[in-house]
Amino acid sequence: MIALSTTTSNLTLAILGDPYHAGQHAALNPASGQAAHIEWLYWLLFWILAIVFVLVMATLTAAARKSVTPVQEILDISRENPGDEGAAWAVGTAVGVTVVTLLVVLVASVVTGKRVEAVPLNNSVTIQVRGHQWWWEITYPNSEPYLTVTTANEIHVPVGRPIVVLTDSGDVIHSLWAPNIAGKRDLLPGIPTSFSFQVDKPGIYHGQCAEFCGLQHAQMGFAIIAESLDQFSAWYRQQLKPAAEPANEAEARGRDVFLTHACVMCHTIRGTTAGSRYGPDLTHIASRDMIAAETLPNVPGALAGWILDPQGVKPGNHMAPNILAPDDLQALIAYLQSLH
């Protein structure tokens, strides 16, 4: 099975010149067993269907070349239709072969479906993903509230451990899709579902909303950050802490700016009085690589642009522009950058 998919990948690379940019964001570049099973099925079907295509087009070409007659005079129709008996056999056989091929496809598809769903669930990590217009609320639920982690847009998972994803939506339908990891799953308001996967290769895998969800559907990204169990545990412990206290005057002023401006209307920073759940939790914003649902890098310039003019970056999103004095803005960014 692995051999088949490797050979076919190499063959296709040879023919098409690496159209998939191997090593990148792609359904045919699996980083999990689930995506690998689907990749295997893809290549199996690809070659079956390619053969069908070639056979039909070859027959069409042969039929056209065999029979062509000049147009000067339109031929009369004869009452006899020679060759129909042989054609009946040929068509009957072709239909029979089609039925058998479809059965093969059906069996391969059902078997792959079962493989994809057969993730062993011992020692699993459960992650709740709740879609919002236009960001992802990520929770690692725990029966003890103080052990529950809430973050946004970046899903940290340990490599080699089964992950159970519980899906839900706070507004419209979204769809969670990281092609290197697994097929997509719709996040339906009022209809919670779950699915599971297990990442085999460490790395950062991009994902994106796949169900049209309004104005900023195009820029509703997320990342799956797969790391060793030790790294994951360290990250998890850090996320459990309340926000870092300001270490200097600028950061202290930045916290005051945060708590006395519109920021506090939507965002939470645990350890402060900011507790609104409308926007992403910013308690550990500095630990994230990207901001604005994987739209901008988490660097001071981008952060400043985003705070001042979010509608210029992502027109229609639910964050209001913030008119801040330059030194207030500097202080706020210093504070946010300190929230590791």
């Binding site: 998939y20 990148q24 964001h25 792609a26 359904a27 099973h37 689907i38 099925l41 893809y42 079907l45 269907l49 295509f53 039909v56 087009m57 069409l60 042969a62 056209a64 029979s67 062509v68 007659t69 339109i74 031929l75 009369d76 129709i77 060759g83 009946a88 040929a90 068509v91 072709a94 239909v95 089609t98 479809l102 496809v105 059906l106 391969a108 598809s109 479906g113 217009q133 507004d171 419209v172 339908i173 899709w177 092609p179 097929g183 997509k184 799953r185 719709d186 339906l188 308001p189 009022g190 209809i191 579902t193 796949a210 169900e211 049209f212 309004g214 195009a218 820029q219 739209t295 027109p315």
Partner: protein
């Protein structure tokens, strides 16, 4: 062909009287009061072709925006309107009105050998209602209040909370318009096929195109009510505060999807079957022999009509339904390949044993095979649940359905236009320009849409107005955009060819292709009464199998618009009846209904108040008029 001597009109007292009886009155009123099916059919085709071009312009704008990463040409608000109106236009205002209604209304009565379509006033009404729905959608777009929730407008995004304003109402009410129109046409076409066939055209001898239009009409009758229910419930949620789909009040967001796709998937076959029927009609003509496998093809068409209703869940594989039910729908979706494959094999067998005489429609037949086959094969991939959840809602799917719909409907449509245009205009189209048109369009199409398969596999979701540079989607998107230029060039060549040939092209004889079906038994274009004498039919290809002394039907009056009604199975003459003549009432009724529909978007009072003019118009329409000089009661046919 002896029969043509009686069925092609020639100057005589008889044809003079028929012209007087059936002819359309001149001038403004005549234009709005005509109910003749060739007039209405051409209007359907012209209107839907205009909508096709407009929808194509929207597609071009979208491709310009996507040509480069982080492009700022069109913002998300405008872009969402563009793709919503593009999809809705192509499905509801182009594909169905062109192929089912346009071709159907024009060709079916001629192919039946009938003087008129059944219920001609309902037919005219259906056209005006369709036009009203199209104008509603497009006026909304021009006023920047175009629908913006996608052509299937999933709840809750399309609901009152997340789409305030009137945009989605325009979309939902457009659905109401076009579905009323499609239902009206379905009734007209099914009745025409079952009761107006020329004597001798038993079910067993009915041209495949008529079979397909019959199956389609029945599919429309079953599929359209589902979408009318779903768009109706959506409107109620939006306008008067019902909670059918609101999850917070116990409503169900998946119910919407089930209802929509219970219509939506049969709709795909409603769009594809006319294309298949055009293939079955044209291939024998250009390969100069009878179709191979008439019975398996007819059985396939009927089977598609049934299985098409059992596959809708494959649009919902990503919602997380139980695996067993998903496997059932995988099996059903694969099963529908069998009838389509059977038709392919029968066409190939026809070609194999035929003698090809190459004319322009043949190019489009080849194009259909190439493109539709790719679309059908990628459809096999999409039927598989594990593969579908990877490529669902990505550009892979965008590529797939454009291959299926453009391959399965647009290429056959062009084959059909090149084939029937001489019948409609009386002039032949230029073949050199036809080749340019084909090759530009074919190359451009594959440039644009084949690249989209790769984009989908590399993770590009559909309906995104922009994408980031580091996704590496830029080059493929640029390629896709360049392809559009070729397609547009092809369409310009076609329009030039059409406009020029319509005036100056070589005159078309009554049967320029020496085809076998009855529309070629009359002049090009046909007179308003279609045939001076109703032909009779000996075999499946009426003209090829006509006896040297094939009789025609006499005894049908030429001083009143009389049609011959035959029975459904054997097409034995049963009685004559008077066809409904020209009337302004269908147009006025359509106006009144449109006013009520549009008004109801703004106030619920439009329903009771708007009903008054509708009732008045219906009274006018249906008021008995005793002016007929012949007894209107059924006159038993004397053999």
């Amino acid at each position: 062909m002896a029969i043509a001597e009686a069925t092609v009109p020639r100057e005589s007292e008889h044809t003079d009287r028929l012209n007087h009886t059936w002819g359309r009155s001149r001038g403004f009123l005549g234009w709005f009061s005509t109910v003749h099916h060739t007039d209405i059919g051409i209007r359907y085709m012209v209107t839907s072709f205009v909508f096709f071009l407009l929808g194509g312009v929207l597609a071009g704008l979208m491709r310009l925006q996507l040509a480069r990463p982080n492009n700022g040409l069109i913002g998300p608000d405008r872009y969402n309107q563009l793709f919503t109106v593009h999809g809705s236009t192509m499905i509801f205002l182009f594909a169905v009105p062109m192929l089912f209604q346009g071709f159907g209304v024009y060709v079916v009565p001629l192919m039946c050998g009938a003087r008129a379509i059944a219920f001609p006033r309902l037919n005219a009404f259906s056209y005006y209602i369709y036009l009203g729905g199209g104008l509603l959608l497009w006026i909304g777009l021009f006023l920047n209040i175009g629908a913006d929730a996608g052509w299937f407008a999933y709840i809750p995004l399309s609901g009152p909370q997340f789409s305030p304003g009137k945009r989605v109402d325009f979309w939902a009410q457009m659905i109401t318009f076009t579905e009323v129109s499609a239902l009206g046409s379905a009734i007209c076409l099914a009745t025409t096929i079952l009761r107006y066939r020329a004597p001798g055209m038993t079910l067993n001898r009915m041209p495949i195109l008529l079979w397909e239009k019959l199956v389609l009409s029945i599919m429309v009758m079953f599929a359209m009510p589902a979408v009318m229910v779903v768009s109706g419930l959506l409107l109620l949620d939006r306008l008067i505060g019902t909670q059918f789909f609101n999850p917070a009040e116990g409503g169900d967001v998946l119910l919407y999807q089930h209802l929509f796709w219970f219509f939506g998937h049969p709709e795909v076959y409603i769009i594809f079957l006319p294309g298949a029927a055009i293939m079955s009609t044209i291939i024998p003509v250009f390969w100069r022999r009878h179709i191979f496998g008439y019975t398996p093809i007819v059985v396939s068409v009927v089977a598609t009509g049934f299985i098409g209703f059992g596959v809708w869940v494959h649009h919902m594989f990503a919602t997380g339904l139980p695996q067993l039910s998903e496997s059932f729908f995988t099996a059903a979706s694969l099963m529908i390949v069998i009838p389509t494959a059977t038709q392919f094999f029968c066409w190939l067998a026809t070609m194999w044993n035929g003698r090809l005489q190459f004319r322009i429609p043949v190019l489009w037949i080849f194009g259909f095979f190439f493109i539709f086959l790719i679309g059908g094969l990628s459809g096999v991939m999409l039927a598989s649940v594990p593969l579908d959840i990877q490529v669902h809602d990505t550009y892979f799917v965008v590529a797939h359905f454009h291959y299926v719909l453009i391959g399965g409907a647009l290429f056959p449509m062009f084959a059909g236009l090149y084939y029937w245009m001489p019948k409609m205009t009386g002039r032949m189209l230029n073949e050199t320009l036809g080749k340019w048109h084909f090759w530009l369009f074919f190359i451009g199409f594959n440039m644009t849409f084949f690249t989209m398969h790769f984009l989908g596999l590399r993770g590009m979701p559909r309906r995104v107005y922009t994408y980031n540079q580091n996704m590496n989607w830029g080059a493929l998107n640029m390629m896709a955009t360049l392809g559009v230029a070729f397609m547009f060039a092809g369409l310009v060549v076609f329009l030039a060819n059409f406009l020029h040939s319509r005036e100056y092209g070589p005159i078309a004889e009554h049967n320029p292709w020496k085809a076998g079906s009855l529309e070629w038994a009359t002049s090009s274009p046909p007179p308003p009464y279609n045939f001076p004498y109703i032909p009779t039919v000996n075999g499946r290809e009426a003209l090829w199998e006509a006896a040297p002394n094939q009789p025609v039907v006499s005894g049908i009056r030429d001083d009143v618009p009389e049609v011959l009604v035959t029975n459904s199975l054997d097409a034995d003459p049963e009685y004559k009846e008077e066809s409904e003549g020209a009337s302004l009432w269908p147009f006025l009724t359509a106006l009144a209904v449109s006013a009520a529909f549009v008004g109801s978007i703004f106030t619920a009072w439009a329903v009771p108040i708007g009903a008054v003019p509708v009732i008045v118009c219906l009274l006018g329409w249906l008021w008995p008029r005793g002016h007929s000089p012949s007894p209107r009661m059924a006159e038993k046919w004397s053999q």
